[in-house]
Structures are given as C-alpha cells and as structure tokens.
Amino acid sequence: MRFKDVFSIIGPAMTGPSSSHTAGAVRLARVARHWLGVQPDRARMTLYGSFADTYKGHGTDLALIAGLLNYDTDDYRIPDAEQCADQAGMEVEFAVSGLPAPHPNTVRFELWKDEDQRTLLGSSIGGGNIHVQQLNEFRVNLTGELPTLVLLHSDKPGTLGVVTSALGAADINIAYMHVDRKGRDGEALTAIETDSPASAELIAELRALPYMYEIRMINLKKGAESDAV
C-alpha cells in the first residue's frame, strides 16, 4: 500500500498552497536537516521538474528553508522563512536544473556545517508524502513516516546482526530496512525505519560498536529534533 494510514489522507495540517510543493518540500528539507544532524551553515538546493517551474509562486523555496530550520508543515513562520534564515545565520541558495529526475517534483540538497557536507535527493510525491532516494551517494527508499535510524559503518560481517539484536532487546520493531554500500568491505549505509524511536542511550550504545562511523536519527514527529551522535 502506497498510503499507509488515515493521516496520510486527512492531513497534514500545513501552510498552503500546495501539499506537493509546500508541505512535501518542508518535510524533505527536515529530513535533510536531520541527516546533517544540525542546522546547516549553508544550503544549496537544486530543483527539478515542476519544482523548478513553479517554486516561486508556490513558495516552495520558503518551504524548503523552513524545513531546514526544522519547522513543521503548519508553522506560521513559513511565509517569513527567508528572514528567519537570515536571523539564524543560514545561507541558502537555489538553482534549477532541466535534467531528468526520478519524479516531477524533485530536489537535491547540498548542506554544509563546518567541514561536514551532506547531500540528499528526494521527491514530493503528493499529499505531503515524500520519497527520499539518496543520502550522499547511497541509495535509500525512505518515506519519513516512521522514526528512521541512519547508520554509516564499514561493510563488515555481523554488524547488522548486532544492530538488529540491540533494537530487538530494546523492544523496537523494525518496519523497513535499506542497506547500500560503496563496495565490498567499503563504506556502507543502513537506514532502519522503526515503529518507535530509539532512545539516546540505545543510539549511544550502537555508536560504540566497532566499524560504526556515525548515526543519525530522522524523526519528523512534530517538534522532534535531529540527534547528532
């Protein structure tokens, strides 16, 4: 089922005018912020397809900035997001691309915080629902509907077994899981969508595992902040 529950049909509460161009854009940008772990110093967003064609009239640019500021879809500050970004000291830049994209409403984020740089490619697929296809150069398949642990680790046997056992021991059910790697024995990314969010203690426990580089928690629940670990 593409749509999982009643609130994917009725909802979200949002600032207009378009669930695809506004609410979906806020949510994509929030995922990007949580992927970086903190508010970026600088963000560059490249818009494709209908995003590129109509972003100014729909306020998609404001919605994307708002998501980077971790605002929810119905935040009353969205129309003033540009000024809010100025005040927060976040530099933003927009570019449009005529190149083909996975979906008519697609955006690619490049985010910077000090020396750290992250990219995300995602699409707004209707009704405020989103599909994240790439985190850095790794392929994923995320909806943002559930709390999601993103693990960057090296491709070593047993790593995932330890992680899934730890989640099980904490009574956290895995709904969906996506694994990608740069190459055998190379850098790998695992995204785990769970029915309930992992605690800070559990994340710290996982972070201490050998071969684990870093962990991010993507959580679009109202007001939730990213957990940079």
Partner: protein, 299 residues
C-alpha cells in the same frame, strides 16, 4: 488495514454492525499501535484547523501570493445573505466555505490537506456548513472525517489523489467522493449508501484534467473546490434517496486509474495544456513571471 477496497470496507462494517468512521478509528489504532484518544485528538486538531481556515477566509482578506485570486468566499457569502440563491442556501454556504478555505491555502495560510492542499476546500466546505445547519457536535464531525479518510485511503491506494499523477479527477474528484460518502454517514445513512455516494460522485468527475494557470493551485482549483462541495452534497442526497451507483464504486475507482494514466502529461499539472494554455492563461503566466522577482543568490 483489513480492507483495501470499498466493498471490503462495506462488508466489515456490516459484519461488525458499525459505521465507516468507527471502523476506521479501530483500524488506525491497530495499524499504528496508538491509543484511540490520541488518534481522535489528532483528527480533532485537524478539524479545528479547518474551522479556523473557514473563519479566516470569511473574515479576512485572502489575496494569494501571486495576486491572481482572493475574496470570492466572502463575495459568495454576502450574495447568499443578500437574497435568493440559484442553487439553494445549503449549497451556496458549502460553496462559500470551500472557496474560503482554498483561498486561505493560496495565501499561504494554514489548512489541512484533504486529501491534498489543492483540494483542501471541499471537505471543510461540506462539513462545516452542514454542522451549522444540522447542529451536530464536533465529535460527530470528527468521526465523519475518519469516514472520509477511509474512503480516501481506498481511492489513494487503488488509483491516485494527486493532480500531477491522475489529473484533477484524482484531486478534487477524490475530495468530492470522500465528502459525499462521509456526508451520507453524518446524516445517518448506511455504509452501503455511503459507498454508493462515492461512486456517484466520482463518476461525475472522471476525465477532469489538472490545468493550473502558471502551475499554481489557484485558477481553476479554487473554483473547482467550491463546485466540488456542491457535487458532494448532491451525490450524498442521491445516495440517501436510494440511488445506487450502477457501476460499483470500486470499479469507478479503477476507471479513474485508467483514465488518469491515459491522460497526456500536458493535462496533469504541468501547466502545458488546458486552461493554462488559453490566451489569457498564457498572459497571466507571463505577467507573473515578470512580476515575481528571482530570489537573490546569496552565496
């Protein structure tokens, strides 16, 4: 969820002697492992946002960001108060409220996507005008929203709810079908009648293209929300009177998928066809392109 089609939804309601709204609450509890009170509160919050949007659209100026639209919800309510309407006061009020919510949406105000933002006026228009008319309490209305959600869930998973995918039949059409079925239930009709209302409503929007002028959800979307609210009321009346959808509603949903998939892309929210490409549509697009300054590159 234990259902993916309307006939399954109807059968479950019959087996358990319950309404679509109550069944949907139960299913949502099971699916998300969240307490019923929390789910109910979430939907109640959404209903409050809908009421606020109606109020704002009826009392404040709601000029859209582009400047293309605004003020029609108020205009219609004044006309309704002034005298005799052609379509009847209940229809006119539903229409006025639906326009108001859509105008609030276009002005970047707060609304609830039902099922999308482009179609956010239909359900509040129908629900809030009916609540005023029949004196129902909020709890009754919120259960009605769950019924609308159940219908939308089936449509979304078997066809589409976004104009970009399936044309405006998928966007406004879904909202009308959801509102029509929910209205039947709010009035005390059976789940079976509610499901017939969905089919009756959807049949009347098949083939409707998505042709937003300048790509913005304003022209023709706002007006279609107003007219959609009236269609939903009419379909609910037909079903409550005993009219049945001769083509089963699930089959109508399948047809929406077929018709939407066959639509050329220029008629699916690309602004490359339909009203967007009329001489006036092109002129408005061009004037907006000139008036909205490009965002400055700050890096």
């Amino acid at each position: 969820m234990r259902f993916s089609h309307l006939h399954e939804l109807g059968a479950l309601c019959a087996e358990e002697s319950t309404t679509i709204g109550r069944l949907m609450i139960k299913e949502q509890v099971q699916e998300t492992n969240t307490p019923e009170e929390e789910i109910f509160r979430q939907m109640s919050d959404y209903y409050e946002v809908m009421k606020e949007a109606v109020h704002r659209g009826q009392t404040q100026d709601t000029v859209s960001r582009s400047g293309l639209t605004g003020g029609d919800g108020k205009r219609l309510a004044e006309y309704l108060r002034a005298g005799e309407t052609c379509s009847g006061d209940a229809s006119a009020l539903a229409m006025a409220y639906a326009l108001s919510v859509s105008e609030v949406n276009a002005s970047m105000g707060r609304i609830v996507a039902t099922p999308t933002a482009g179609s956010c006026g239909v359900i509040p228009g129908v629900f809030i005008s009916a609540q005023e008319r029949f004196g129902w309490d909020d709890e009754h209305m919120v259960r009605g929203l769950f019924a609308a959600g159940a219908i939308g869930y089936v449509i979304a998973n078997n066809s589409f709810i976004s104009g970009a995918e399936g044309g405006c039949q998928a966007e406004i059409g879904s909202a009308i079908g959801m509102a029509a079925g929910a209205m039947v239930e709010l009035r005390g009709g059976t789940p079976e009648q509610a499901i017939h209302a969905v089919g009756l409503a959807l049949k009347n929007t098949l083939g409707l293209i998505c042709d937003p002028v300048a790509g913005l959800v304003e022209i023709p979307c706002i007006v279609r929300n107003g007219l959609g609210a009236v269609t939903a009321l009419a379909a609910a009346d037909m079903a409550l009177a005993g009219v049945r959808s001769a083509i089963p509603s699930d089959e109508v949903i399948d047809v929406m998928l077929e018709v939407g998939s066959a639509m050329p892309s220029k008629h699916r929210e690309t602004a490359k066809g339909g009203l967007a490409q009329t001489p006036t549509g092109k002129r408005l697009t061009e004037s907006l392109t000139r008036n909205i300054p490009a965002k400055k590159d700050k890096s």
